[in-house]
Symmetry: C2
Subunit: 424 residues, 2 copies
């Protein structure tokens, strides 16, 4: 782990406010309208071009010296170098950006080569994702959904408190923020209908989630233990698990969600490292019953990450907040999720993505999906443009933002934002 | 489509018997103990090295002339060239191998460069698999399992006759035949127990399936219609969907199978093209009720592929047959599966794999899993070594074979074979 002093500051202008101070240094993939995808790190309103930094010889004497893993269209090569290399990279980048280091600060030519305004570049999906898994680890969310469909007394399934329930998602449809989403079509069946019908989904929802990227995988038959999990996780993003509730409801028995989810998952572009998040570890919810030993976790397994979601219809001039919740509410933490995922010997790969599941908090205004916010359509919300929503309408833009609050700085995730296009 | 005359024969010795006559020409990935993975085609007991054939200029005047897609560690580059290129490749390969063509037949030097005995090479996973989806398309299998767990009257879920139920599987653990499988560990809960316990699965099962590889994918929001499906499917393999029934039973509600399946899926090494299978198309089961229009299929959607599975314990000198079934029993055909999979706009990629689901036939001796063969453990089978099985024991080898019978020849899939190693 390499934590940067909360009091540190950078010579980069406008880098002390907002999501990307020197304490953050999240990785992403960008091009500067030159079709050359490479790794960058966000600092203030800029991207630092790490491929160019490497070419300039500034990663010498690190584990990354020989191989320019930054001149790649995804983070996978960097990831595969492992925890020690990640720490060295972070250390080197922070040294270059810290206020009193003249190497970049005073070299206008070099600085002009390696610094780009974020507003002037394109960002891309940061990782070549092998497999995408989605968990279901918020007790409040599982309880809300269970109560709606099975009643309060049977809300949680018998397995829920014993293991982090999860399922395989679809990797090919994970999109970067800004890629708009077509409303899916599919089979649905009204409760009173004799037979299903085909058409555009009428119950299009979001799920406020976060995702973690596995940096390094494991071999078949060699689980990642809960103690090792931390060293395998590279970093985190915001994640919107788009859900068509009507398609999902008809199809999901007995093998789980399929086309109700597979059309799209949106993620934020900047991968915030576990190193940057280290100061924000907190106790998670008390687990009762005690998990089996392979899931046993001592210490701070949760992270204090504030999360908000917003809606903006085409008639609205600015977004309206839908909910405010926190990543720390999750019952099962990431280390438990990863230990569980591999305990059967499943081989995971560098760059695999795991979603947290919808993150709902304990209060009504901290629910993480329209299904819960509008309680199965029974409590519609009114937008500033006067229209009502139970689920999303075409033209609605959905935004999720997240950040950690440090002393005098914040570690932000930026946002994941996408607009709903009519069914094609 | 390019079908090779059933009466055609090749100059390659021993190529008229067995799985790989000139009418088959399945693709695989091999190396000749030189760490150089490339594309080959199986012909009789040999592999024809297509990378070397391309280097020799023998793919000139085809869509593949400029780019040696065969000098690659997987079939994805060939796949991405599309249906017309696949047809041209098949045509060119068959021309080179047909009995009266002297180009290779009479050129000993060239022949020695491009022909390898299969027994002298290593085969590898043929495709870089993006996503793996597994369907559940055998009515007999779904009925058997449903009857066991919910009784005869509620055997099929309400959605089953209306859509090909499927779920996302895990791509990182698809292994080639010959890779042995560790018995998974995991959480299970006995019906009478108060709490779950952790240990090696005691109910390790196979599922006799086939898989199809998507050759070319689709763009987000642009479904592959049922009429287009044929041109997107590259070919098929045998598939064993390993299943730990006790882990699956405890975890699968409500999001479907996860760790009960994710540890391993085994496939056969040679991808038999849809072109080679064209002569074996037959009518599938009558579908009642009539599927919705997007799933409507006229003509022969099924394929007559004979399938058998075998067990061999460490004490047995040869395998014993467990079951004999046929791919044609599947209720939902591949074209319907693919149309359904993409109807919501899901983007699929070149090289994605779709499993059929367990293929059980209408009779007791055509069931495709130990769960069904031994009817939930109530009808154990006795092996020639005197031991009994309800599910598999450590050291058991499980083999699936498949073939189509033509007039005077057969199109074989070879086999998928793996041994069960003790839990690690």
């Amino acid at each position: 782990m390499y934590t940067i002093d909360g009091a540190a500051s950078s010579w980069v202008e406008d880098s002390s406010d907002g999501d990307f101070p020197i304490q953050n240094l999240p990785y992403g993939i960008f091009d500067a309208h030159d079709s050359r995808l490479r790794v960058g790190v966000a600092i203030g309103p800029y991207v630092l071009d790490l491929a160019a930094i490497h070419e300039a010889g500034l990663f010498s004497n690190t584990l990354l010296a020989d191989d320019n893993v930054f001149a790649a269209p995804n983070l996978n090569a960097l990831m595969s170098k492992g925890r020690q290399a990640w720490t060295q990279a972070r250390q080197r980048i922070s040294e270059l950006l810290v206020a009193d280091n003249p190497v970049l600060r005073d070299d206008t030519d070099l600085r002009n080569k390696v610094m780009w305004l974020q507003s002037k570049v394109n960002v891309h999906l940061p990782v070549a994702i092998g497999d995408f898994t989605d968990f279901y680890s918020s007790k409040e969310h599982a309880t809300n959904v269970g109560t709606m469909f099975r009643g309060k007394d049977n809300a949680l399934m018998p397995n829920w408190l014993h293991l982090p329930v999860g399922y395989h998602g679809r990797a090919s449809t994970v999109f970067i923020s800004g890629v708009d989403i077509h409303r899916p079509k599919g089979q649905t069946k009204a409760d009173e209908a004799d037979a299903p019908s085909f058409g555009a989904s009428r119950l299009l929802d979001f799920e406020l989630e976060m995702g973690f990227f596995l940096g390094t995988g494991n071999k078949p038959g060699e689980p990642i233990s809960i103690d090792q999990a931390k060293d395998h996780i590279f970093g985190m993003v915001l994640l919107n698990d788009w859900s068509a509730r009507d398609i999902q409801k008809w199809e999901y028995v007995p093998l789980g969600p399929f086309l109700g989810k597979s059309f799209a998952t949106s993620i934020s572009p900047w991968v915030v490292t576990l190193d940057a998040l280290e100061p924000f570890r907190v106790d998670g919810p008390k687990q009762d019953p005690q998990p089996l030993p392979y899931l046993g976790f001592d210490g701070n397994g949760a992270f204090d990450i504030q999360l908000e979601a917003y809606i903006q219809s085409e008639k609205m001039s600015e977004p309206m907040r839908l909910t405010a919740t926190n990543f720390k509410h999750l019952y099962w933490n990431m280390f438990q999720q990863l230990a569980h995922h591999t305990v059967n010997g499943t081989a995971m790969r560098d760059g695999d993505l795991c979603g947290s599941g919808t993150i709902s908090g304990p209060t009504e205004d901290s629910r993480g999906s329209m299904l819960e916010i509008c309680w199965k359509g029974t409590k519609p919300i009114t937008l500033p443009d006067g229209s009502q929503r139970k689920f999303f309408a075409d033209g609605d833009t959905v935004i999720i933002r997240g950040w950690c609050v440090g002393k005098g700085y914040r570690i932000g995730f930026g946002e994941v934002k996408a607009k709903i296009l009519p069914a094609s």
